[in-house]
Symmetry: C2
Subunit: 670 residues, 2 copies
């Protein structure tokens, strides 16, 4: 339940007191984050519409069900969501995006472990739109949109993920019948991972190596029917099933798919870009960079999702830390709230600050993406490499930071954080997946590093630099500026670290290239290269944080708190990467003690505002889905209530295990 | 399957080649780690005896079952294990410890997500032994040993874990009936977490606040019957059930327990130490430190378990990295094994080195524990504080390192590491639990820090120092020794860092104490204090690693590899904590480049030995339980086979979800 329902339920007293301590109005923050009061209202209306639907509640939580029953319940609920979306549309309601309902924070509240129908809207239809000709769009999108067919997107294979050029599935053109013949030549060429592929979708866009007239033309997208529309039986030559259980997202029905001479009409190749003519002649795509846009889009969305996951975990852990009392601080006095321990604050507040750092930086990239997209439509691709490089390292750094943060926050809740009912374990299962999908993090960091190495050489030759790498101008000759404990100096220092590491990498590659191949020199330097991408991204995050706080139109108390959070974020990372700052900036060992003191001071300064800040995220109790994090702070009551939902607790004795196994063992000696 | 069965199955070619590359015999390492060839044989015989039993195999893996069925299958298998143990004993077979079969690597191979009967042998019986009088032992241990009753150990409550003085359950003595009356005065006083408590055990040792004649005497252990021995129904006044699903260990049947005026005879208080006489007179325990021994023992066992978990993950990820080929290293050439990427080696080998660091340090503490235990029996408690401090930080640092390592290793396997069939997600679920149980890590680090602060003051006043803190002698006046790139200098540097941080903390506490209470000064310094405990522990780990390698009787090639691993461990941590080394040792920024170069060189040097090293751990395929890590390296075949075990894949169409939900949705528009 959100801020506005504050008074509905009796609250834990400690939480009540925390709310009185906060010196700003959390609603101000909520409106700022939503983008205005009107947007907040829209969001909350949509939450009420979906979350108050009795059909979408579970009496027995999914984690007590068998894997197959989890899947069935997810299909049931997905179908209800789809119907409700149609109702909303019929009423003229403003559902501008399916994403919120399928993968975002609202969708995650209804389907905690994934939605088997998501890819239909999130990948299948968008791919038809971006890769299909107008005729293909007319045919397939209308069928997909009206739910005449259900699709997914099958790209990844058992043997290849991020490196898509290595995909092995073949689509060989047969001009005699004007058909493509799809095959899985090896076990590793089986499609593996696509959501909804297992038992749900009946169509898919399949990415395969195109072969025509004996020539290989690389990967292209094809529409393939997987199952009979009436019986759902697999089509001839289609080998299909689900890939089994995973660390998380166990309701997404990820599937595998093999082809044994599966024939599809020539028209099923999506031909907006490249084409195969009836006689088998291949016509190349005019511009291969056009598809970069979608990848950038998806990665920005991932950064936003990471910020949401982290906000959930921060809300849960912060409220719990205000309610939990433990140990003896001063002998004879009442046990303190654990949020008063500096070590606990150190587990909470840097990650609270990180939520804002991610949200602000994602917003900036989002704007850049929109600008660059319009430029691309006008044929100007100049800024695409910079945008791509920034989206790569942002996806990698933010997914890694969010995963790390969620785990620290889970551990900060002690044993109770290990309970499923805290919702922290499954939040971790979801957020850590983002380190791997849509481009594995190390690979992405190295892609950014390639861009940075180029940028370094451009800067060295005196070329004009774009904004995110402008700091490379004049490196490495620049004299280090004197140290000062101001946020501007800190921002500058993060750039000096990034620049220093970039210069060092470039020099190392150059030096190594004298005695080995360029590939080996790159490989030898690759650990440092990933670290220089991270430093570049960190500088960007700190700068966008400081910039947004400086420009933001906040009330005085909220502004001050935001400044503290921004400073904490900077100081926290300077201390974590202390060696870098000692090496590449004018910071000296005698400055370090101030930073340590300041970090402790900032934790203390944020302390009274902490609950207000997470209240400002305004995450509905069902979005949090946590016994530890609910608005009312009735932590122990909720833990106990959740335990009662276990089917094993329905009877005082579990007769099967007792009479079949335990009693014979116990009575064996009589 | 272990090394000796190497030739039974056709192996992946790349793995075969790796095994040819290795310059030492993995069996040498296996024997060293087991403690001799005879011990290896014993271990493997025991593995065969248990792991080849058809009754202990699962056709459908547990993770596809409902929560209740998982529990029932675990009870079934636990009972078989107990029977097999008895058979072994009857044959005079040498099962010297139940731990291997209940929690260790063999037990984990049979019951992957925990054993609901473990605490009977691991906590219930040992507590009866250590806390019961001879008469009590005669009565209870004989009943427990013959499985006439099944027990657990109920200490932790909803509101209190690590801080056991805060437990709220009361045991009030009623002299009129010579009984104790147990009550749960609050919701937070409910017992919460004990394994097997939910539906399995019928007895428990319950830790409660003793009250007699209106006086409170602190926590004491009581034997309480929970369920009727014939019907298994809860006894009057006993409120009992399971606490619900968790991040891992979902078969351990962790339970909750409340008391409503539950009466037990006076004799059920375990009175080896403290006593309550029939009239209610309380007689104090002669020495409260005696119970420290068990805590130390449990923490050393946890360190060993952490090393095992990490070894499993390293084995899985290393073998997978040798089999997996990905991307284009040199244009036009075959995709390389991913183990050839320096970034991948950086994810694998430091954690491979960590396995040895943990094993060797744990071995040393184990010996120290045995020595100190005999001293304690002779009344000499001098070394107990040092042993306790060392066990606290070792448990904290090793559980944190192992959890971090397992996650890095899981992520190094890309998407496949996210599959349950990799066994990496559940390995993480088990190892991360160790960060919280048996003393929460931050609390333990602060306990070690208390000891270090005392040690610092002793050192300052010129007292004799025990071995693990001998490096504090003469601090902070000691002149920094010149830098040198040798393992001895590195070990020294780790001690200098620890000493430097300890001195700084002591000074900060002193300075702060002038303007605030000692409690506040401690709290303000607590983040640094946890870091100084970690530095102390790290120095110990590096020193024990270097010492064991230097003393070990290895063949030349194995010795060299062990030296490389030890050096990598040191260099890796110096670079991760670079700021500390620049601040507290004579290392200068110009020395850093050598360390970076050296790290890359060491990764390359270890590369050809990596598969041989993990083969040397000799973890049975069933212990690994991983499609990615099996001896034969048939990664893709096994992933595919495992997927076929999903009950959803039993039929081509899941009729329930299709006919009930999907078809109506799809046909709604016709």
């Amino acid at each position: 339940m959100g801020v506005s329902e504050a008074n509905r339920k009796k609250c834990n007293e400690d939480l009540d007191n925390e709310r009185k301590k906060c010196t700003f109005n959390p609603l101000e923050l909520t409106h700022f984050l939503d983008g205005g009061a009107e947007k907040t209202k829209e969001r909350k209306d949509r939450e009420t519409y979906f979350l108050s639907d009795a059909e979408l509640q579970d009496n027995v939580p999914d984690h007590y069900l068998s894997h197959a029953d989890k899947y069935r319940n997810a299909v049931r609920k997905s179908c209800i969501i789809f119907r409700k979306i149609k109702e909303l549309q019929a009423q003229g309601g403003g559902v501008d995006s399916y994403r919120q309902l399928l993968g975002g924070q609202l969708g995650g509240a209804i389907l905690k472990d994934g939605n088997p129908l998501t890819l239909h809207y999130v990948m299948f239809i968008p791919t038809l739109m971006s890769q299909g000709t107008l005729e293909q769009q007319a045919l397939w999108i209308s069928r997909a949109w009206s739910l005449d067919i259900l699709g997914t997107y099958a790209q990844t294979e058992l043997g290849h993920g991020t490196f898509i050029r290595g995909l092995e599935t073949t689509a060989t053109y047969d001009p005699s019948r004007e058909e493509f013949v799809l095959n899985s030549p090896t076990l590793t060429s089986y499609k593996w991972w696509p959501g909804g592929l297992g038992h749900t979708a009946n169509y898919a866009v399949v990415v395969a190596q195109l072969i025509s007239k004996g020539e290989k033309y690389g990967i292209h997208p094809f529409v393939v029917q997987l199952r009979d529309e009436n019986t759902h039986m697999p089509m001839p030559g289609i080998v299909i099933g689900e890939i089994g259980t995973k660390m998380g997202m166990n309701a997404t029905n990820n599937g595998y798919l093999g082809f044994e001479n599966v024939r599809i009409p020539r028209d099923n190749m999506l031909m907006k870009n490249a084409q195969v003519l009836p006689d088998g002649t291949y016509i190349k795509s005019p511009n291969s960079k056009l598809t970069y846009g979608t990848m950038v889009f998806v990665r920005v969305v991932i950064v936003q999702d990471c910020a949401t996951f982290l906000s959930k975990a921060v809300t849960i852990a912060t409220r719990y830390s205000a309610v939990r009392r433990q140990s003896e601080y001063v002998p004879g006095e009442r046990e303190p709230q654990i949020i008063d321990y500096r070590t606990q604050q150190y587990k909470l507040f840097p990650h609270l600050a990180t939520c804002f750092a991610m949200k602000f930086a994602a917003g900036w990239i989002w704007d850049m993406y929109n600008n660059v997209s319009s430029e691309i439509e006008e044929g100007d691709l100049d800024k695409l490499p910079e945008l791509h490089a920034m989206s790569c390292c942002m996806k990698a750094v933010c997914s890694a930071d969010a995963s790390w943060g969620v785990e620290i926050l889970r551990l900060s809740c002690g044993g109770h954080g290990y309970m499923t009912s805290s919702n922290l374990p499954s939040t971790y299962g979801l957020v850590t997946a983002a380190c791997t999908y849509e481009g594995e993090n190390t690979v992405l960091l190295l892609q950014t590093a390639r861009y940075l190495m180029k940028a370094y050489h451009q800067a060295s030759s005196g070329q004009e630099m774009t904004s995110t790498v402008a700091y490379l101008r004049g490196q490495p000759k620049l004299k280090k500026r004197p140290w000062a404990n101001t946020i501007d100096r800190y921002v500058r220092a993060f750039k000096e670290v990034a620049a220093g590491k970039i210069v060092l990498c470039a020099q190392n590659i150059e030096r190594r290239s004298q005695t080995m191949s360029p590939e080996d020199a790159w490989n030898m330097t690759s650990i440092e290269l990933t670290q220089c991408s991270e430093a570049h991204c960190r500088a960007f995050l700190v700068e966008r944080f400081a910039g947004t706080v400086a420009e933001g139109n906040f009330s005085v108390p909220l502004k001050q708190t935001m400044e503290h959070l921004c400073e904490l974020y900077a100081v926290f990372w300077m201390l974590l990467r202390l060696g870098d700052f000692l090496m590449f900036t004018s910071l000296t060992t005698s400055d370090v003690e101030y930073l340590r003191e300041r970090q402790v001071w900032l934790l203390q300064a944020i302390r009274p505002q902490a609950v207000g800040l997470v209240d400002g995220f305004d995450l509905h109790d069902m979005v949090l889905g946590s016994a530890l994090g609910a608005w009312d702070g009735q932590v122990y009551e909720r833990l106990f209530e959740e335990a009662q939902k276990s089917p094993l607790n329905a009877k005082p004795v579990d007769e099967e295990s007792f009479y079949k196994y335990l009693k014979p063992l116990l009575k064996a000696n009589l």
